[in-house]
Symmetry: C2
Subunit: 434 residues, 2 copies
């Protein structure tokens, strides 16, 4: 049976606190293996990539080549079912249009003292996008990671994707083409991350690596962090649905299961003030599970990590919602807008009975790469800003320097940094030249 928590129970506070700290993933300790792979790629370059790809993916890239030919990308795109191709374009355009609004503005101004200050944004020059192989190879993720980079102005976007036995997902290649990616390598795992970070004869290094991956990829990203930038390391996905009794239990059950089918570690939470509705949803979940091809995964997720939380009313629920800090939050209540401003911690909010979270996975326009595992308390979903960096600009004339100097010198002296003080004082003939 799925976990049930009732705000009215005397031990609710403790049970809720324990629920919040449930660990939903065990990551294999592959640090040593990954370190050896990275070292090999740094030392032997392409040669190491060929060896690892033969060993792990059963593909001879010495024969097949590391690079995916433009003609192969084009062919995958052309061979796609036209409806699916149109869906990819539709999603791409909506994502691009939304993300263009995130482009930050530069700022340059003079303050009251005549000091010239500025903030200037520039794009990261080159980004590597990791795309997993097999069933986790999602074309939607290609769009979600690549489009904001393109919008930011990143000139070079490189995709790496493992081709087990030489197989590549044609929908992923088509998504890459639509996103404007023409540099793709059939290499995966820690070896691909190492190649992106340090470069090989064939793959020029990038400045930042993004995209989801398995334990090896995650460990490799952590290890190369510093040499390059990385995005967040995402955990299993989660949804919290605030739903009143006026919803169709089947709709809400479908939303909970959409999350649960991702991964046995995914988490689906229903929060409702209506006990009968809660039980109707639980029953609908059971009914719908029977129809799902990924029923086993979804059932494990639901039984191991799912929850139904009964609340007396929404004002009481809001602080709980903020503590859960869900990656995805659906508010399926009458007048959902009234709660939005009270939600402080959530990756994305889906408002109303006709906004299933799945829309945001594909075609809403907002990004589906969102903070998991309660990290919405301190971090944000992927955006154009993740592919840009800020440079601050400062410019003083002699008069401004004279006005700022005394405070700067006083602070430098207080910190025992004599050379700091001198660097200011010497320009005003204030220093002891001895």
């Amino acid at each position: 049976m799925v976990l049930r928590l009732d705000h009215g129970d005397p031990d609710f506070a403790d049970r809720f606190a324990a629920f919040l700290t449930t660990k939903r993933e065990v990551s294999a300790d592959v640090d040593a293996d990954v370190r050896a792979i990275i070292d090999a790629v740094r030392q032997r370059g392409d040669d190491a990539l060929h060896d690892f790809t033969l060993r792990f993916d059963g593909l001879d890239t010495r024969a097949a080549g590391l690079s995916v030919a433009a003609a192969d990308i084009e062919a995958a795109y052309e061979a796609l079912d036209p409806d699916l191709r149109a869906a990819l374009h539709f999603a791409h355009d909506r994502i691009a249009s939304h993300h263009r609004r995130q482009l930050p503005g530069n700022d340059r101004y003079q303050d009251a003292l005549g000091v010239d200050l500025g903030t200037r944004w520039t794009a990261v020059e080159a980004v590597g996008l990791y795309v997993p192989g097999g069933t986790a190879s999602y074309p939607s993720s290609v769009l979600m990671n690549a489009v904001p980079a393109r919008v930011a102005g990143v000139e070079r976007i490189v995709m790496v994707v493992p081709a087990r036995q030489g197989e590549l997902n044609p929908v992923v290649l088509a998504a890459a083409k639509i996103a404007g990616i023409d540099e793709i390598y059939r290499v995966g795992g820690a070896q691909a991350v190492a190649a992106l970070a340090y470069g090989t004869q064939t793959i020029a290094p990038v400045s930042k690596i993004v995209g989801p991956g398995n334990a090896w990829v995650a460990a490799a990203k952590r290890q190369v962090f510093g040499t390059v930038g990385i995005d967040m390391i995402a955990g299993p996905s989660e949804v919290l649905v605030m739903a009143d009794g006026d919803n169709d239990p089947d709709w809400i059950a479908a939303d909970l299961l959409a999350q649960a089918e991702h991964d046995a570690g995914a988490q689906s939470i229903l929060m409702t003030p209506d006990r009968d509705f809660a039980e109707a949803v639980a029953a609908a979940v059971e009914r719908q599970l029977a129809m799902l091809p990924r029923a086993e995964t979804a059932r494990r997720s639901w039984l191991d990590f799912g929850a139904i939380i009964l609340v007396p009313d929404w004002p009481t629920a809001i602080p709980l919602v903020n503590r859960i800090a869900a990656e995805h939050l659906e508010i399926a209540t009458a007048d959902p807008e009234q709660w939005v401003d009270h939600i402080r911690n959530a990756g994305a909010i889906f408002l109303g009975r006709h906004t299933p979270e799945v829309i945001g996975d594909y075609v809403g326009g907002s990004n589906h790469v969102l903070p998991t595992a309660r990290s919405a308390r301190f971090s944000s979903g992927l955006s154009v800003l993740d592919y840009m960096k800020r440079t601050s600009i400062l410019k003083l004339g002699p008069e401004q320097l004279r006005q700022l100097a005394p405070a700067a010198i006083a602070l430098a002296e207080a910190e025992g940094l004599k050379a700091h003080a001198r660097s200011v004082a010497i320009r005003l003939n204030l220093e002891d030249r001895e």
Copy 2:
């Protein structure tokens, strides 16, 4: 002798590439020790803090208390030299004024299909600020870390600072007061980071931890990352000075030494087209070194990691400047503005002969927490955005859902996510109910 690289030398490309990969710090492997400390704090809370503080800092917090009393903060502020107090206020006000311009705007709009999309920024609720003890205890860093948090709207800012033998730097306490911090604990090291991340009886947990620290603090921040957010782990500081022959060699030498006195791992680089000027600066560095109380540190930094790079002209230099991607870049040339737009990678740019980098350390108004070790290629200095997070908002009515549904269902089916497809289809009676 300091390293000299000449763009005209036949082996310049290789030597420059090698120079870029110079490692300037060796971090002690303290992961296991840190893990034990964190575990102890999680298990024993305040008791563990008392034990570690007695052992590492020689302070009995069971007697003295963990919390610094408001009266002690006030007394430190009142006892401060009035000029220094004024300098702190001056710096605070300039930093606050500049950072207020960084506050991001929310966005809410309807697109052409009537889909309601939004981006909303909220402040992190509680932030922990680590302040090192001893000589690295910089009041300016308190302001640089705390002011953007305050401007962002963070309600609770907690400072932790080790008090070796009970001693606290009164200037740090005064800076805290000016920044509006009234919750301060005399605890440091990995134990302080653990307390901030997990909470103890006395210290309520925060959502994000910022501020510089030694190897133990850095390792602890890495280990608690995920449970809380962290800022970047800063490496030794660095400056790159582009200077033509019309500068006073003494001014430029002073700037190079201001950086070098920070740490033996700091790096000061002069880039110039003028060989005679380069040698005059080198000679001035030697002369000024003799006057510095921290001469030994500065000399080690200069000889181990400093460099003079001769370039034929500025257009040739710009790509090198972008590859170095310095934390601090001074452009001390005639008409420095003409180069700004060509600089892609730099934490902060200081323009003209009267803008020594030191002004930015204290009173320029921009932040002095900046990306080191070439990470300006992919990351930015500390800003108000580091204390905020974005939530995306999506809202569809039945008509919008009908329009987005076909593409969402097509993509979900292509990804093999049947429950995703169902969650959309069920709302439009499109699904097979079997």
